[in-house]
Symmetry: C2
Subunit: 121 residues, 2 copies
């Protein structure tokens, strides 16, 4: 049946940045928790939109035509095919929602590419 | 390109209960905001899971084999085909995530069936 998850408890359980963790599922979609600080890499997901929901801190999603700045309880959907690069001066906790199997670095690859660890059964 | 949305601003813009509002999209999925108080109807979504994320208040999701009680920043996925009935003594604000077109009352129908208004363009 599944159990409820508590985002704050889950966030207390890891400290690494730019490595989304599986927090829940919805059909063939995944809800992930991530902590970020610093700047990521410019990348694109050609096949899917990607939702960011900030839980704490201030996240800047750099787009080629301007920045989107998200505070707590703010959400932005990066449309499929749109190049983006998240950054955060101070640590940010956020939710990511996207189809199962999406790679964090999209088309860019590289050393920041992360395997998704699961925080649930 | 879309714009960011602020959940708290959106929640200030409506007061009705049990009537989810469209707050964002993700491929063919929708992220909705809802305020609830009192008890809903027992119903099932035969074709899809449904994610609840509580933003404020305490939401009880009644299931036939027990209750799941969610506080702020807690999430539960009701699996497809599982009968459920949300209730809340005090007002709750929550996010719902599910495929486009899901009807709030599922198979039950009735007077609480709501048309989804959009809070975005």
């Amino acid at each position: 049946m599944g159990t409820k998850v508590n985002f704050d408890d889950m966030l207390d359980s890891f400290a690494d940045h730019w490595s989304p963790k599986l927090a829940g599922r919805l059909n063939d979609y995944e809800i992930k928790l991530v902590k970020v600080q610093g700047e990521f890499v410019w990348h694109t997901h050609e096949d899917t939109d990607e939702v960011f929901i900030v839980l704490s801190g201030e996240l800047t999603i750099q787009l080629r035509d301007g920045d989107v700045v998200l505070g707590p309880h703010e959400m932005f959907t990066v449309p499929r095919g749109v190049e983006h690069c998240p950054k955060a001066e101070e640590e940010v906790s956020a939710l990511l929602i996207e189809p199962r199997g999406v790679v964090n670095t999209g088309d860019a690859g590289g050393e920041l590419t992360a395997t998704v660890e699961s925080l649930i059964d």
